[in-house]
């Protein structure tokens, strides 16, 4: 009894510690990183490719098989919705029509991990297409 009680106590004590984990604001792929629910997401725009990388709270890649995501992209005062499909490892990919020159692109992603509610994240890209 004593051991099990202690186990419960330790578990409950440890619960709030999950809040410690965190990473930098620029991800390993060079894109901005934002919190999305309990995940960290990194968004990269390359030409017309939209790639969303998903990591957990301690920046470990998360398998996105079975997940889906939608990106709402605001560029040149036009909004467009792009569906992002899992593309291996922790990346979700989609194609957008971003046009040529634009000063800033704002993107909102809604990520739905398998069996979970959708979580939103907002990105502001300084200059896309590099």
């Amino acid at each position: 009894m004593k051991f099990s009680t202690l186990l419960v106590a330790v578990t409950l004590f440890a619960a709030p510690a999950t809040a410690f984990a965190h990473g930098p604001s620029v991800g390993p792929h060079g894109g901005p990183v934002t919190d999305a629910g309990t995940y960290h997401t990194e968004l990269v725009l390359q030409g017309n490719d939209v790639v969303l990388y998903v990591t957990d709270g301690s920046d470990k890649p998360v398998d996105v098989a079975g997940a889906k995501a939608e990106a709402t992209i605001l560029a040149n005062k036009q909004t467009q919705k792009v569906a992002l499909e899992p593309a291996g490892a922790n990346a979700l990919k989609g194609k957008a029509n971003l046009g040529e020159s634009h000063d800033s692109v704002k993107v909102v992603t809604a990520l739905t991990m398998p069996g979970q509610k959708p979580v939103q994240a907002r990105f502001e890209m300084g200059h896309a297409g590099h």
Binding site: M1, K2, T5, L6, V8, A9, V10, T11, L12, F13, A15, P16, A17, T18, A19, F20, A21, H22, S25, T34, D35, G37, T38, G57, T72, L74, K77, T79, K106, V107, V108, A110, K117, P118, V119, Q120, A121, R122, E124
Partner: protein, 574 residues
């Protein structure tokens, strides 16, 4: 055995209590992208979100949403924008509310569904477009009909969270549990467990406040989100008056967007700048000696109006204009004396004239010297006659020495002026006013480079230093400034407050003077726009820059949004 049970009970109790005690620890070393916001209980479900361009507050209104859209930097309402709200996969375009600036309304069926709703708001204004996201939490209690999803412990926790009475009840249950445990420890195992369960239940209720925060803000650590220490255990929920501005327990202000619009609260983003060091002086407006004139009489006499009558105070006069004439006052004795002199001179004149004529006929036989003497004598007499004759009739014209405005008129028609000291009219050129100030520190007087002044009614004057006196006047050094482009309505003698720039610069944040208000304790403070509907007082150390602006040397960080207009009104929120 007994000790073991006590230990077990204590372990369970402590582990349940942990979430209450730990939040402040759990926060260390971690900062989310968006600033953490304290929880403010609102009567209606509200979502606040902002980006670098916009600040958006969405409030549930009946079966729809009211969206308040403002500029992030200035807090100005954004009019004429297209606002599209997407929630639960359904996009609705909001229509502007007529008669109100920057308010948009839309119908949304989903607001009657309890639980968190992820919102994406697409804003397209004339000059900027943006995407904003946020979570609108619809509580179960707000929609009593057709919900009923959240019962049991969570509903109880919610109630405890709102009711201090229940909170104290929970504390009493806890104490009861402790007593029961102590009393029954020796009686058997089952009762010990019951006691421990009571302790745990009491703590659970007490920590309900901490648990109940879960969905307020997105975070990894649930209740650990609140930055304000202790906020998790004692939420800043203020029951009672719903959507009115109010002061929160931590001293910050909750000001709903509707009130912000009413008070027309405007903000500016703090930027660090260099400004000259300044000193404050007191001065008054004086007339330029070359731009102010006195009109005085040179002799005693009677005032007679000029061609256009006597000038009124406030009348504009031209240089050389005749303001009045003086008929010299000559008393009877003087008058008869002058008349006698005239008679004598005229008599001599007749004799001299006949003598000159006679001598001219004898020219050649009398010495030339005699003729010239007689002519000189005649000329002298004629001049005496000419000088004497007008004394009784000539009037002296009093002319305006400069163009300007008559500021004093001390005479009336027919008044008799005695002596020379009396000032009859004062004229001031309003375009050539000066400010005279006194400095008590000679180093300040020597270091002043430029200055500005403000009158009591807030008019700003830009001043140019003319010089300072070398002689002290009442232990102070008089300084003279010229007013560049004086505005209308200045008066000679009006007191002004001077801010003089001295050598050296100071670094700080330049704000308008009316941004800085006084706290209840008399401390200078500014209000920082921390989140869309929350304002925080920041005590500051300031130094005037000029009449209209101050330099904040300490107290606020660059990039903070500081209230400029409406700070005084915000300060009165209790």
């Amino acid at each position: 055995m007994i000790h073991r049970r006590l230990l077990a009970a204590a372990s369970i109790a402590a582990s349940l209590a942990a979430p209450v005690a730990l939040p402040t620890l759990a926060h260390e070393g971690h900062e989310h992208g968006d600033a953490p916001k304290p929880v403010v209980a609102t009567a209606t479900p509200t979502m606040e979100t902002s980006s670098s361009d916009f600040e958006l507050v969405a409030v549930v209104h009946g079966k729809g949403l009211l969206v308040y859209l403002d500029r992030f930097v200035t807090n100005e309402p954004v009019t004429g924008a297209t606002v599209e709200v997407t929630a639960d996969g359904e996009a609705v375009t909001a229509s502007p509310v007529s008669g109100e600036e920057g308010v948009y309304s839309l119908d949304a069926a989903w607001v009657s569904k309890p639980g968190p709703h992820e919102l994406t708001v697409s804003v397209t204004a004339a000059d900027a477009a943006d995407l904003l996201i946020g979570t609108l939490e619809i509580p179960a209690t707000a929609q009593p009909a057709g919900s009923g999803g959240r019962g049991g412990v969570s509903a109880m926790l919610g109630q405890v969270r709102h009711d201090p009475g229940l909170m104290s009840g929970a504390v009493m249950v806890f104490l009861l549990g402790v007593l029961t445990t102590v009393a029954l420890t020796q009686r058997g195992r089952a009762r010990t467990v019951a006691g421990a369960a009571l302790i745990g239940f009491g703590l659970l209720l007490a920590s309900g406040a901490a648990f109940a925060h879960g969905g307020e803000d997105h975070s990894h650590g649930d209740e650990a989100k609140d930055k304000t220490p202790g906020a998790a255990a004692t939420p800043m929920a203020v029951t009672g008056a719903a959507e009115s501005p109010r002061r929160l327990p931590d001293g910050s202000l909750y000001v709903p967007k509707t009130s912000q619009r009413l008070l027309s609260v405007r903000t500016t983003v703090a930027k660090t700048q260099q400004a000259a060091q300044t000193v404050q002086l007191i001065g008054q407006i004086i007339a330029d000696p070359n731009g102010g004139g006195h009109v005085q009489a040179t002799q005693s006499g009677r005032i007679e109006p000029g061609e256009k009558g006597l000038p009124y105070v406030g009348q504009r006069v031209e240089a050389g204009q005749v303001l009045a004439t003086i008929t010299p006052a000559v008393n009877v004795v003087d008058r008869s004396g002058i008349q006698q002199q005239i008679a004598t001179v005229e008599q001599e004149l007749v004799i001299a004239e006949s003598r000159v004529q006679r001598l001219r006929k004898l020219e050649g036989s009398v010495p030339q010297r005699d003729i010239e003497e007689a002519e000189a004598n005649l000329n002298g007499l004629r001049k005496r006659r000419a000088a004497l004759s007008p004394t009784l009739t000539t009037k002296e014209a009093l002319r305006a020495p400069i163009a300007g405005v008559v500021t004093a008129n001390n005479v009336k028609a027919g008044q008799v002026i005695e002596g020379r000291d009396q000032v009859l009219f004062e004229i001031v050129d309003p375009s050539r006013l000066m400010v005279e100030a006194v400095a008590f520190d000679p180093r300040v007087a020597n270091a002043i480079k430029a200055a500005t002044a403000t009158t009591a009614d807030g008019t700003g004057l830009s001043l140019e230093l003319l010089g300072s006196s070398l002689a002290l006047r009442q232990q102070a050094i008089p300084l003279l400034f010229r007013i560049a482009n004086p505005p209308a309505g200045l008066g000679v003698g009006q007191p002004v407050r001077l801010v003089a720039q001295v050598q050296g610069t100071a670094s700080g944040i330049v704000l308008p003077r009316h941004s800085v208000v006084r706290s209840a304790g008399g401390q200078p403070i500014v209000w920082q726009h921390e989140s869309p509907q929350r304002f925080v007082a920041r005590p500051v150390r300031t130094q005037p820059v000029d009449g209209g602006t101050v330099l904040v040397l300490a107290g606020i960080e660059p990039e903070a949004r500081i209230v400029t207009d409406g700070a005084g009104l915000l300060n009165q929120v209790r």
